[in-house]
């Protein structure tokens, strides 16, 4: 439905603008407050633009609050989540391009796991990891989140659009199965993988609950867990809290703004229409 009237179009743009301002208000407030000193951040009436901008809070995060350790842990989780994505992609390819016994049943099991509420699996997963001796380890934080049924499902949908003949031709040329997968299938899957990489990155960068449950040791905390800790400890130092939050949010926003085109295409591609 198109609007032909310029006046109406500007009203709608105006409504979107006001809405957008409301939506981004918390972000603006967060960034501006992170540069205020401790007194100014609590001043009434509040100032919008910091009067004496300071980056002191950002230094404090790294010098006194171990945010460097949390950052490294978070990046480790990000790297392993990409390995998980590779496993998801392999599974999606396996389900999309091979015929084998029990395929429907196995795929049904994969889909079933999507319906299980996270809270049901939470306690038993903890018990399983405890039995394996993996609580309070990086492996325990990483393992349960490696595979996501929804990703396998989306990737399989994409794999089914790749022509069989192409794979057959490569096989006749004597290419091994893994050679075909890495040299032929992965480059062809770029559009769907681009979305998956971004969403996987965002999810693992934000990982909070599972590290909170599994890690007792502060050396294993992620940025989110560290930030939650900061919130508990520094009830009134909002400037410091805002700096921590900004540090968590800004990298994600930058990556998202650069790659958002692919996410939108990904939604269009997934066929939810």
């Amino acid at each position: 439905m198109k609007l032909k009237n310029n006046f109406e179009r500007s009203i709608i743009a105006g409504v979107l603008f006001v809405g957008g301002l409301l939506v981004s208000l918390p972000f603006i407030w967060m960034i501006l407050s992170s540069f205020k000193n401790e007194r100014e951040v609590l001043s009434i009436p509040p100032t919008l633009i910091p009067k004496n901008p300071t980056i002191h809070h950002y230094f404090e995060l790294f010098q006194n609050l171990n945010f460097d350790v949390y950052l490294i842990n978070t990046l480790i989780i990000v790297v392993f989540s990409m390995f998980g994505l590779l496993l998801n992609t392999m599974a999606g390819y396996g389900f999309g391009k091979f015929q084998f016994r029990g395929k429907e049943i196995w795929f049904g099991i994969v889909l079933m796991t999507m319906m299980i509420p996270g809270q049901v699996a939470m306690i038993p997963t903890y018990l399983i990891l405890n039995k394996m001796g993996l609580t309070n380890t990086m492996a325990g934080i990483i393992l349960p989140g490696l595979i996501a049924a929804f990703n396998i499902f989306l990737i399989r949908q994409f794999m089914e659009t790749i022509p069989d003949d192409l794979i057959e031709a490569a096989r006749l040329d004597g290419a091994g199965e893994f050679y075909i997968f890495f040299k032929l299938i992965l480059p062809l899957s770029k559009p769907v993988l681009a979305v998956q990489v971004i969403l996987t990155f965002i999810a693992s960068w934000n990982s909070f609950l599972w590290p909170l449950i599994i890690a007792n040791d502060e050396s294993l905390y992620t940025l989110s867990v560290g930030l939650a800790l900061l919130q508990d400890q520094n009830v009134t130092n909002y400037g410091l809290q805002m700096a921590g939050a900004t540090f968590m949010v800004i990298p994600i926003l930058i990556i998202f703004i650069i790659f958002q085109k692919y996410i939108v295409e990904g939604f269009n591609m997934s066929g939810i229409k």
Binding site: M1, V23, W29, M90, I109, Q119, V249, Q260
Partner: protein, 292 residues
């Protein structure tokens, strides 16, 4: 030899993923069901002989547990207010985005999507500050309008509303993109035909746009409903269920029993009650869709 290896190939591809899913998604369901009939707690974790089979005792205790019943009530409150708000607001945003020019639409799409990718703890920190009764921006803005300060997170009822506002803000992005994809796939020829028939804008919305988006609406409603039934992170990081248990949800109750009180059996039983709600709600939705 060659035959064997080609039969093994698909298993090599799906094997690792399926194995991890079996261990960390399927197996936990059976364990959860098992321990929901026991009195397992922290002592049982160290020594399994301490775990006793108690039958339906946990379930019977749960339906008498005042704080669990309150958590169920709160969860329904979240669902009844939150789901329609979330679905309608993301629908309206998508509809409006579809009206404006391309570059405006792209810019606002990014802005409206931003909260969805933002870390929940960062959100809690920032919104906790906005909602602060004395130093928060929201009460300051209200004071400019000569309105009284609102106890955003200090009153059991208002705190529920505050969490809903925050959650709608956060969740709009994804639903909006799904609606937008659906809107863009409606062929323009349908609207042109309606124009020739002299349909007004409201009629076009009512008879073309909304029916064409029935699947997207169904999809968004089902996923939103399931999400709100499991409402968890917002009360966890913002209020920890308080004040006076006023913002506690079923999912948060499970977490508190399981990991704060270490009552694994009791928490697992509560998680199966939540599971039952989720399945029932999903089945009802699919039934309604079929009868459409």
């Amino acid at each position: 030899m060659h035959k064997l290896s080609s039969r093994m190939t698909p298993l090599l591809f799906i094997g690792p993923a399926v194995l991890l899913l079996l261990v960390f998604s399927i197996l936990p369901i059976f364990i959860a069901l098992g321990i929901s009939f026991t009195d397992m707690n922290l002592m049982g974790l160290a020594n399994w002989s301490q775990v006793n089979f108690t039958g339906f005792e946990n379930y019977l205790a749960l339906i008498k547990d005042k704080s669990f019943l309150q958590a169920i009530g709160n969860t329904f409150f979240y669902v009844i207010i939150g789901v329609p708000l979330a679905v309608i607001s993301s629908f309206l945003i998508a509809l409006f985005l579809n009206f404006v020019s391309n570059w405006l639409s792209t810019t606002f799409r990014i802005i409206y999507y931003m909260p969805s990718i933002t870390n929940i703890v960062a959100i809690a920190v920032v919104w906790g500050f906005l909602y602060n009764k004395e130093y928060g921006l929201l009460n300051y803005l209200l004071s400019l309008l000569h309105m009284d300060a609102v106890p955003w997170l200090d009153d059991p009822f208002i705190a529920k509303i505050s969490l809903i506002i925050l959650a709608v803000w956060k969740s709009n992005g994804v639903s909006m993109l799904i609606f937008l994809a659906a809107l863009q796939s409606i062929p323009n020829t349908q609207y042109e035909a309606a124009d020739i028939d002299g349909a007004n804008r409201w009629q076009k919305l009512r008879y073309i746009t909304i029916p064409s988006m029935s699947f997207a609406t169904f999809f968004v409603t089902v996923t939103t409903l399931i999400g709100w039934l499991q409402f968890f992170e917002e009360p966890l990081v913002m209020t920890d269920g308080g004040p006076l248990n006023g913002t506690n949800s079923m999912a948060l109750f499970i977490y508190q029993e399981g990991f704060q009180s270490n009552q694994f059996g009791y928490g697992a039983a509560a998680s199966f009650i939540l599971f039952a709600f989720v399945i029932t709600a999903t089945l009802i939705q699919f039934k309604l869709r079929k009868s459409d």
